[in-house]
Amino acid sequence: MSTDNTHAAGTAHVAHHFKDATQQYESGKQGIWLFMMTELLMFGAIFVAFAIYHRLYPEMFAEGSKTLDWKMGFTNTLVLIFSSFTMAISIAFIQKNEQKKAIFALATTILCGAVFMVIKYFEYMHKFHLGLFPGNFIDVAKIGAEHANIGMYFGFYYAMTGLHGIHVLVGMGLITWVMIRTIRGEFHSQYWIPVEGVGIFWHIVDLIWIFLFPLLYLVG
């Protein structure tokens, strides 16, 4: 084990309780994946609730999804997929000691996150303008909805995209953090675990959106 340092060879960054860089790298990676599992389970439960009510009130969900603008959702999907790409190449750049390119890629990723949030903001504002609020605050008569429970659709819409949006913001913060550390020269071909961890988080956040988009915007 101690001789297999192909993943991460530098000894300067090994914390005191690890034997070597490999053990540290493998522990970190397992920890990140386990944490991602909890994220998936958390979103999993809300997907289950969505599935149950979608089965109970299919027409209501169809009516709700018509109010969403799939073009905006689709744009956001593209933006996030592109940001996943820039996130991934930033790690490759760090592994090749091309820090400048890596910083550029990370900055692009943050920018994509910001574009996503701005588009989301306009979508939200448009809904608010039309009076499409969650359950308690929606005036069914005023918006002329067919289904009395249409507020629940928007409950799901805001809860799911809101929770996802919070994750995007957290992800942007984390990417900023690893970008600053990259600028400081803390990451190089021997040490990049935090960047990879943040990258995995960002990909999972993207992945969740890739499920949210068809469920909310496209499935009638």
Partner: protein, 534 residues
Amino acid sequence: MASHAHGDNYINCEKGLWSWLTTVDHKRIGLLYMITVMTFFLIGGIMALLLRLELFAPNAVQGVGGVLKDGNVYNQVMTYHGAIMVFMVIIPGIPAILGNFFLPLQIGAKDVAFPRINLLSWYCLMAGATLALLTLFFNKVDTGWTFYTPYSIRTGASTVLMVLGAFIMGMSSILTGLNFIVTVHKLRAPGMTMHRMPLFVWALYATAIIQMLATPVLAITLLLLAAERLFGVGVFDPKLGGDPVLFQHFFWFYSHPAVYIMVIPAMGVVSELITTFSRKVIFGYTAIAYSSLGIAAVSFFVWGHHMFVSGQSETAGIVFSFLTMLVGVPTAIKMFNWVATMYKGSISFDTPMLYALGFLFLFAIGGVTGIMLATLPINVHFHDTYFVVSHFHYVMVGGTLMSLMGGFFYWFPKMFGKMYSDSMARMSFVFTFIGFNVTFFPQFILGAMGMPRRYFDYIPAFEQLNKISTVGSWLIGIGFVIALITIIQGLRKGEKAPANPWGSKTLEWTVQSPPPHHNFDVEPVVTGGPYEYR
């Protein structure tokens, strides 16, 4: 053990409050958890005493009963007793105190895999608990610890704050579990194969799996409940087309596995105690280790037994009833193996062993009544009666708390390098054990007679048994006060503890008491199983 120079162990290597609040040493974090959990246990315990005092007499007869102003106050005290004991005492109890301290030592590691995250988990618990207890200064929560909808949506209490507190405490639990899983997989000493790990580590590992898989579902459930109150998303609110029973499904999908988060570590401690004090290799090591995983696996498929009368289908009821009984199998495997371990062993009745035996006795009752409650037709009669209250107190208090005390007295010399007064500790056991049975056994009878749980009052026919139960609660209280005095006395003027006072075989007893800052001066190399007595 040769005498060491000043500052040779984890307690005195650094000084000052700040060094404790910023420590990343798993042993110190274990002690931080210990102080926190003991404090919460004191608060939750006083509330329990108040509840029992209120139930001393039916309210119609104003006397000693009637200490609480009215039924609303009773509901609030009951809610805080439940929430504190569940989220702040029993769930973090054994894993975060004893697990944090001894998991790395038992597998020959210098620390857990992520020491800073370990500290973060303690701060999460503190932050969550602070939020939850802040509600005491606003509108006190009266929903019970289960936050059932739709009442929790409608009540004027500060449910949102409480629920966010529980959410953050859940993060603490997830982070602890994550740390333990990675530590077990990646940080074992050379030669420490999975099948040479002490059974306490196996138990913590199984617990960590549940913590990781179940807690996220609670997290989203509590967030949705908060969103329901703040924005009316409609998921759980029947007025908006939602289904309050879905909340119960989600809640128990976490909270039933959570009772195994509470009890599996207790079983791990008991495995250590029984083999040590029987001076005999544990019987059926593999069976005990894998039955922990078995319980963890089955635990995810039994939540519906909380909902037999909530309007779920009869088919679902029958399936859940059967699956629930399945939990009895791995549990019984453990029980029989412990008893078989004691058979022809040279048993010594030191305090930890007394607690372990207390665990076996009480947990057997708790377990068997669990099978009774799993039986669908019987459950319909016992549902929401004191029979259920008694059952889960036998498991949670009789099981987990007995084991926590036993484990604490077992490892006390290692943790603090001091011995406590054995006779005092035995006395605390006698009071808690007898007091426990006096308190909770009558509640089985009360439940069978039909006394509903969660009520602040009862008909005069139940008075006699309630009086006995309340007297029992005083005995438990005395037992824990004696235990506290024992601990304080031991800390202040206990004799210096040797490295291995009980003649145990696991790795933590090979280092000095208290352990050095980095656990092992030389990395241990393991060549055999954990319990090679004979």
